[in-house]
Symmetry: D2
Subunit: 438 residues, 4 copies
């Protein structure tokens, strides 16, 4: 098992003319852009679950990967072995951060007590590896959707004892994240929704969720965790309907519980598209609503209606996303986690490297494109002149909350004109983007 | 033109064994159910726009209907003639309510002044027809999406003068609704969104919309309108993205502007499905969030990705919707408007009757089914026992906001058990519904 | 394990007023309709895979069902035990037919030789159970998508040795089906497509598939199997693209290899909707193209974009499907297999009964509705008069292949009229259906 | 009207560093690539309908463009004026080809006779303009979907007199195309499908369509037209279902009528995505089936479910499409028509130029990328080695149609091994593409 990646030398930056499939062509971590290094801008993280836990199964077929650390029982020895593999991968790839769910890393537990103990054991071990290697934790989370106990939800379960189990997991995962110096903590409510509305108290379940997230925030402050808490929106799958549908819905939920200044969002492009949005829309919505946090980079398939979690490869899409991320101030505690998995046929160690190298190079190119777009912001300038009328007069008065409907109506009547439509110049603006995508 | 419907006698209830295509088989307006007549429960409304304004055009072809009142200029004489036709239709069909946009009914205007005058003219005329016939206004609205001036939005336009024009229209449409005794006023933001995010200040546009709706609410109170104000959610179309996406998103918007107790939603099933929800989900979400208002009954095509606005014909779907509407207390000011249009090939006067008779009969059957489901509420009883654990103990404490994460975690640790999963009985519950659909 | 269903008495027909959740309310197997019993019309089959093999896992979580025959190694003893359970279920439910994949029923095999032997062993055993119980085989099939060897396709694999393995499986599954008196044999190409076009020779893979199906047909004739062979269309999932997309595409494939008179289709509604069609469309397409075979009844979720394989519960949809099936002459060798699974939360033995009882009752109601629609065929009569013009004159000449473009053009020029549009009466026809759905 | 484009100088190639919004940065028509000029490779065409006929209306609003040649009656004078504008645009843009429907260009006709005469008149006029300017006709077509007479289909109409009108239009449009030297003729069956299956004889309508296309092919040969005939697939919209769904379905239709060597396909990416395919899939399917013809370049919106007909801007997508087009031998009679329209807000003359310049530059970049990918064909080489096993032995025997199921089964049994899965290297291959997209 140790030795699985031995044939891969640490990945180096060789520039865009390199022919080496195992080198970065664009990801040059120390390159300065707008006053920060590329690494500081992107804060790349590799996830545990897709890379070191998943065996390649899908709904129609069994595992295809022959990872030597799979198989056998998931005890503390094998959990340590998996950790060794993961940190070996990080060291060779050179990602500064990783992310994990509690059960990704720990030995399997049968009881709450075992859960707490096994998690504590592996956190010790991970802490050691982090110290040795310098790889940092971007964020932690608890898996409250895979075990059968969560089949009807975690905090939204009809059985409050399941919510108590969820509380146990989040408490310890949050504390582990705090101890490991994580920059954030993510809540993805994979079963926080319903399979059928017929057996569901929708209003009560949303109350359960609201109260649960409030308790998490309270606990964060109690233990002094200074990182951020982010909800990850997804509209459905595995459930028919998930309460944290998209950025706009999460915002409404946070407002309802007074949490909009406490909790942000971890946006995933494949979840955005399942919800009927494109990636940059969700980023800009989060900017507009003040809840932008972190990104789970991946991509879906526009013709397939489920979460395919593929590695990103669309330069235009990611250029646009990074443009809006930078316009919003860039990542603070958040970063670029790849919530992406190699395809089921990509069964080799090499494929894990191809996938991550390609994705990191893609983000590097997208970042350079986005920086260039920001530095000569034709799009921003166009928008500024387009909305200039709102900077003064009745427009400003309305935005300031000082105008009335009657006053605006009278203004219109006095002018007695129908305002002339003005071209929105969409194709011109698209050309600006196309030219910036290099 | 008068005479267009002369060959159709007033539609009567004849019972389900009738063979008369121009009779109601289920819609028996005076039938008592749960203490109210069928008519009082459903509050059926016929809309102006699809029935009396649309000529059958679509994006790929011109008008197919040969309505005698179409063609020629839309002056005051022809506006009055259209009103005569509409009220003749209402009288023969027997719908208690109608709905309209300002520009559906009035003569075309070139200037704000003409707009105000032409609207006032037709409101007088409509008031006369209402007095003669007894048909009432369910709700009014202003069309702020068809005229080219609104191509980039109404209140969210980059040009504040367009927002002023929108203010003029809403002010006068709201006052007209008030004068005509309307039970509600609807805001559908058909262009309140963007065609491309590249030329759009998303955050500012949402501010514009928030301030605009606030002004509308203030004006409602100023003029003493006692009806409700409802936003009609739709995710997109005609725009790429519309801010009032779905019930959950509208709730977040209302919370952001402190309007959640002032404004409700007018739910349309075809808009729900375009947003990725089924009809009953949106009704139950509105119940849960306390913003249920009214319904625009219609149906979409599950295989076609645009707003087809077809007349409802799915008994199960509408039974479920009415079950949740009744569970939420039933319609108060809201009602059952048909925002539905006959197909483009259904070019005859008779088709308008087939469509409305079929839809009213469908709602009548659905209502009877829903009442039976409520009276012997197997679904409700199942849900009550399923969530019984939250009525006491730690569950109740958590819902009451008095539990902490630590306390719940400790409780779980003390019990030291993994809660056993319990069947959700989805197929049994679906059978209950199937048997109730008659 | 034996004993799992002991608390369920054999399901009886009790009529629609029965309150017994474990009785049929509509499925009255001996009821005569149009000269055949309900059982003969519907030919209901229960499938092995979803009911006796699947453990409730999904992509985001592990098995939730606690079927006593799961767990432990899948050896010949456990395969026999599973068969006992299955036939016990059939006996209690009273379904006349069952369906299975080779690997659903047999002990797990490591080599081709073991595969052949283990299959032969369980076929003997099944034959015995069939003799004891009278349950018959509707169709058999081979699972060539679950094992990792098939991750890149079976007959369309880049490695011809995998195609040889597929040949081995189909040969023996077809022969087993023949021996067990199956009425048909199904080919579902779950991995016969691609995950990425980049690594795929699309043209060659379609050739491989065409040649493979040809060999299957040749083998059928060689062994004297008199049943039918059906391809089951599906557009995608698990793959990005599957060659047997829908009925129209399968027809083109069959024509290309001269197989259109040898092979029909097994239509699944959830696959139809994933391909952008409704259920009745695919049935009527198969009728029109002369390739209708059998049905895998189930339903998808119109808001979720993957194969949910839920039990059918939509009376209108299934009424329409059965109307078109009967219009096409009804089932011959085909029948009504439920390719449907209880939801993951429906973990109990009872849930399997609720699901099947509900589905059989639904088909029974749908059948009665469809028969009534056929006997007084308002829809058919409407269509006949609508197309009457094609029965004679130039229309007939064109359909007979004897007209030319010039002749038709000249005819139009001579008449020198633009034909007047005639109402399609869609809403009237929908009302006819709605009234027939009881 | 003349003068509308006077402020735009002829568009020149200035290279990628140019800052001129009205210059080509990549489209360098005379640049040689693989032995042909860029212009010869791409064969760019501008369409009449979206650019010179559409006024910016959509389903929710009226025309927004203020084209001076719109408005007023569509008589011969205005038809000539529109032609002047169109050819002025072509001259300034420098597109070598154009495309048109009969009714796009001609004066409106009330009768068949007038149709023939008005078409003949404008064809004379167009012929003159083509002679003056050198702009050539890529393909012609007849609009048989906009006029109300076609609301229930053209050749598939229930009224054979409508099919006769369609015959008249196609005969004269085909002859006009022949006379103007068009390289192809397109059949798009916009209403050749159904709005509801309830009133439709699906089988008969497909027969009508099959016979109609056969007559068109016969007429082509009769008049000696040497160009190609192409069907343009689309799954739906405006109808619920359109018979020419996608490339695979069209192939089946052609095979059924023995037309697969006579008729090819005109692929549109937005139609491909509406049908559930990506662009390159449809190109490669057409290659594999031997029916590739021409392209209507545009793009849809992956989140909006209707035909948005936007100008292409995705470099990766179009690089892939051109890679497969070149792999299939490149365009012969076909070419790159832009079936794309500026957005409704892009109301100015300038927007037409921004759109076309951007699209031509995009295709030029995509072509250069595709040529580079072909010249160093890593993808092709990977596929060749992946399928190498089929070049000999049993694989070859099976492809040659000489193997039997039994023989393959025995071969597998003799080897008695389960073939080992081999990585499909999807991420590696995606990296190859990403690096080629420049």
């Amino acid at each position: 098992m140790s030795g699985y990646f031995d044939h891969i030398d640490p990945i180096k930056f060789e520039g865009k003319d390199s022919d080496n499939d195992f080198a970065f062509k664009y990801y040059d971590k120390d390159k300065m852009l707008m006053g920060k290094t590329m690494a500081e801008h992107l804060r790349v993280a590799v996830c545990y679950w897709h890379n070191f836990c998943w065996d390649g199964f899908d709904v129609f077929g069994g595992g295809t990967f022959n990872r030597p650390w799979h198989g056998g029982s998931n005890d503390r020895t094998s959990a340590e072995a998996k950790t060794d593999v993961a940190f070996d991968f990080f060291a060779r790839l050179g990602n500064p951060f990783f992310t994990f769910h509690d059960v990704d890393a720990m030995a399997e537990a049968q009881t709450p007590r075992e859960h707490v103990d096994n998690l504590a054991h592996i956190v010790d071990y991970i802490e050691g590896k982090m110290g040795e290697t310098g790889t940092k934790l971007l964020w932690g989370t608890a898996n409250m959707f895979s075990h059968p106990r969560f089949m009807a939800g975690a905090s939204t379960n009809p059985n409050p004892n399941v919510a108590a189990f969820a509380a146990l997991q989040v408490k310890h995962a949050l504390e582990a994240t705090h101890r490991l110096g994580g920059a954030g903590y993510v809540l993805w409510g994979g079963r926080e929704g319903y399979d059928t509305i017929l057996n569901t108290k929708v209003g009560q379940e949303m109350e359960q969720l609201g109260r649960f997230v409030s308790m998490v925030v309270e606990h964060k402050h109690k233990i002094g965790f200074k990182g951020d808490i982010w909800i990850e929106p997804k509209p459905h799958e595995p459930t028919k309907h998930q309460y944290d549908r998209d950025v706009g819905t999460v915002y409404g939920f946070l407002k309802a519980y007074g949490l909009e200044n406490e909790v942000g969002v971890n946006i995933e492009p494949n979840h955005a598209t399942l919800a009927g949005h494109n990636f940059e829309h969700e980023v800009e919505m989060a900017n507009a609503l003040g809840i932008f946090g972190s990104i789970d980079f991946n991509r879906g398939d526009p013709q397939n209606g489920w979460d395919t979690d593929q590695f990103p490869n669309d330069l235009r899409e990611n250029t646009m996303a990074l443009y809006y991320i930078l316009k919003g101030g860039g990542f603070k505690n958040g970063g670029s986690n790849f919530d992406a998995k190699v395809r089921r046929q990509s069964r080799d160690a090499d494929d894990l490297f191809h996938a991550h190298i390609g994705a990191m190079d893609l983000l590097a190119r997208a970042l350079e494109n986005a920086v260039a777009m920001i530095e000569n912001d034709k799009l921003g300038a166009f928008r500024d002149q387009r909305y200039a009328g709102w900077e003064s007069g009745l427009g400003k008065k309305m935005l300031d909350g000082k105008a009335t409907l009657e006053e605006m109506s009278d203004y219109c009547l006095d002018k007695n004109e129908s305002p002339a439509p003005v071209s929105g110049r969409q194709e011109y603006l698209e050309n600006v983007v196309t030219q910036a995508v290099k």
